[in-house]
C-alpha cells in the first residue's frame, strides 16, 4: 500500500515538475524574443509553414464542416418551421466554437507534429547543441519564431475557416435544400455580434499559443532515440488537442 502511494506521489511530483519546466520554457522563449537580433525572417518563414501551408487542409475541413452542419441543422430546424434561421445556426457555431477548435486541431495535426519532429531530430542529431556552441540561443532562434507564428497564424486560419464554413453551409442550405438565400444571409448578419467574433479571435490566439508551445516543448526535450521522437510527437499532438478542448471550455465559460 505504501509502495502504491509512493509511486502515485512520485508520478504527481514528476507531472508538477514537468508543468513547471513547460512554463519556464515558454517564458524564457518570450523573454529572448524581446532581445535583439529580432528574427523577422524566421518569423515569416514559420508563418508560411504554420499558416499558409495549413490553408488547404483548413479550407477542406471548413467546407465539409459547414456543409454537414447545414445538413444536420436544416432537418432539426424544419421541425419547428425555423429553416430561415439556418444561417445564424451555422455562423454562430462556426465563429464561436467550431472555427477556433477545429482549425487549431488541424494545425496541431499538420504543423504541430511537424514542429515536434523537426526540433526533436535537431535535438537527437546535436544541432541544438551546435547552436549553443555558436553562442546562439536555441530558444531565441528556433522556438520564439514558432510561438509568434502560431499566435499570428492560427487566428488568420480561423477567420478563413469561419468564412469558408459559412459559405459551405450556404451551399448545402440554399443550393441543395432550398432555404431562401436572403433568409440565410439575413440570419447570419442579424445573429452574429462583435462579441462572438472577438471571442473566437481570443480563443484562436490561445489555441495558437498552445499548439506551438506544447509541440516545441516536446520536441526540445525529446529523448535521444527514435522511440523517444515517436513518443514525443504523439504526446505533443495528444496534449495539444486535449488542452485545446479543455481551454475551449474554460474560455467559453469565461466569455459567456
Amino acid at each position: 500500500m505504501t509502495n502504491v502511494i509512493g509511486q502515485l506521489g512520485a508520478w504527481a511530483v514528476m507531472r508538477i515538475q514537468e508543468m513547471g519546466r513547460m512554463l519556464l520554457f515558454v517564458l524564457s522563449a518570450f523573454a529572448w524574443l524581446m532581445r535583439p537580433p529580432f528574427r523577422f525572417h524566421q518569423i515569416m518563414k514559420q508563418l508560411h509553414f504554420i499558416g499558409y501551408r495549413s490553408t488547404f487542409v483548413v479550407v477542406l475541413t471548413a467546407g465539409f464542416t459547414g456543409m454537414v452542419l447545414a445538413l444536420q441543422g436544416y432537418y432539426s430546424l424544419r421541425k419547428f418551421g425555423s429553416e430561415g434561421l439556418l444561417g445564424s445556426a451555422v455562423a454562430l457555431s462556426m465563429i464561436r466554437e467550431l472555427g477556433p477548435v477545429l482549425a487549431a486541431l488541424m494545425v496541431t495535426a499538420r504543423a504541430g507534429s511537424a514542429m515536434t519532429a523537426e526540433i526533436g531530430i535537431m535535438r537527437i542529431t546535436e544541432q541544438i547543441d551546435a547552436l549553443d556552441t555558436m553562442a546562439i540561443n536555441p530558444r531565441q532562434y528556433l522556438i520564439a519564431p514558432k510561438l509568434v507564428a502560431g499566435i499570428l497564424g492560427v487566428p488568420l486560419l480561423v477567420a478563413i475557416f469561419d468564412v469558408v464554413g459559412i459559405y459551405g453551409g450556404s451551399l448545402v442550405g440554399v443550393d441543395l435544400l432550398g432555404v431562401s438565400e436572403g433568409a440565410y444571409w439575413n440570419s447570419v448578419e442579424s445573429a452574429v455580434e462583435w462579441k462572438d467574433v472577438y471571442g473566437g479571435i481570443l480563443k484562436s490566439v490561445c489555441f495558437g499559443l498552445i499548439v506551438s508551445w506544447v509541440c516545441c516543448y516536446k520536441g526540445f526535450y525529446t529523448r535521444q532515440s527514435a522511440e523517444g521522437l515517436g513518443s514525443a510527437t504523439t504526446e505533443a499532438v495528444v496534449l495539444s488537442s486535449v488542452l485545446i478542448l479543455v481551454g475551449d471550455y474554460v474560455l467559453t465559460s469565461v466569455l459567456l
Partner: protein, 251 residues
C-alpha cells in the same frame, strides 16, 4: 586556458566523472582517450558549458563557467567552436549556408565577404564547389569536412572535436586527421579531441590524456604516454593498435 578542477557528474544515477583534474595546454592538440562509455564526450561538453558539473569547477581563462548561463556563458563560447560526432549540420540549410551560418548570425556579416570566406574554408577542407549540396546528399566524411569548415570559419581560439573519425573508413579517417593537424598547425588554435583511433592519435597529438573510471589517470606528451609502465594503459593502447590475424593469439 581550459582547466577542470574536481569535476564530478552523475547521469541517470550512474557516476560518470568522479573528480576530473585536467589542464589543457594552450595552442596544443590534446587528445582524450578512454573506453566506450567512460565519459569522454561528457567531459568535452563540460568544457564548453553544454553540461554543468554536479561538483567542481570549469575554468576557461580566468572565468569559471560551471554556474554561468545566458549572455555571460555565450560570451565565453565566442572563443569556441565544436565539431560534433555526426557533424551536426543543419538539415534544412545547404553546405554553403551551414558554413556561412556563424558569420551571418554572430558577426551579422552580409554581402560578398560571406561568400568569399565560405568558399575559402570549403576549399581548405576539400569541398570546393559543394556549397549547393544539402547534408543529406553528403557522405559521412564530407559531412565531417563541412562541419570542420563551419567550425573554422570564425577562426576560434579553441576547437573541440568529439570523435571526428568515428564511423569512417580508415582512408577517410586518415584524411580527416590530416586535415585537423594541418589546420591546427597553420592556425595555432587550442584543440581538444576525443578519439578511439589508437595508434593514429599518437602521431597527431601533442598531449594525450587517459580517462578511466571517471578520473584522468595519466596525462603526458604523446611520446611519454606510449612509454608508460601502467599495465592497464599499456593494455588499452596495445589492444587498440593490434590487428588479430586468423589463427593467431593476441597477448
Amino acid at each position: 586556458m581550459i582547466k577542470l578542477v574536481g569535476v564530478e557528474k552523475t547521469l541517470g544515477g550512474q557516476p560518470v566523472l568522479q573528480g576530473i583534474d585536467l589542464s589543457i595546454p594552450v595552442g596544443k592538440l590534446t587528445t582524450i582517450i578512454g573506453g566506450s562509455g567512460s565519459g569522454k564526450s561528457v567531459l568535452l561538453k563540460h568544457m564548453i558549458g553544454l553540461m554543468q558539473p554536479d561538483r567542481g569547477e570549469v575554468w576557461v581563462g580566468d572565468i569559471e563557467i560551471s554556474r554561468l548561463s545566458g549572455t555571460p556563458l555565450n560570451n565565453v563560447r565566442k572563443q569556441f567552436a565544436m565539431l560534433f560526432q555526426g557533424a551536426a549540420l543543419f538539415d534544412s540549410l545547404s553546405v554553403f549556408e551551414n558554413v556561412a551560418f556563424p558569420l551571418r548570425e554572430k558577426l551579422r556579416m552580409k554581402g560578398p565577404e560571406v561568400g568569399r570566406r565560405v568558399e575559402e574554408k570549403l576549399e581548405e577542407v576539400g569541398l570546393a564547389g559543394m556549397g549547393h549540396k544539402f547534408p543529406a546528399e553528403l557522405s559521412g566524411g564530407m559531412r565531417k569536412r563541412a562541419g570542420l569548415a563551419r567550425a573554422l570559419v570564425m577562426e576560434p581560439e579553441i576547437i573541440l572535436f568529439d570523435e571526428p573519425t568515428t564511423g569512417l573508413d580508415p582512408l577517410m579517417a586518415k584524411s580527416i586527421h590530416d586535415l585537423i593537424v594541418t589546420t591546427h598547425r597553420r592556425l595555432g588554435f587550442t584543440a581538444v579531441m576525443v578519439s578511439h583511433e589508437i595508434p593514429e592519435i599518437f602521431g597527431i597529438s601533442d598531449w594525450v590524456a587517459m580517462l578511466r573510471k571517471g578520473k584522468i589517470t595519466l596525462m603526458a606528451t604523446a611520446a611519454e604516454f606510449q612509454r608508460t609502465t601502467d599495465p592497464e594503459i599499456q593494455e588499452f593502447i596495445s589492444v587498440g593498435g593490434t590487428v588479430a590475424l586468423p589463427g593467431s593469439l593476441v597477448g
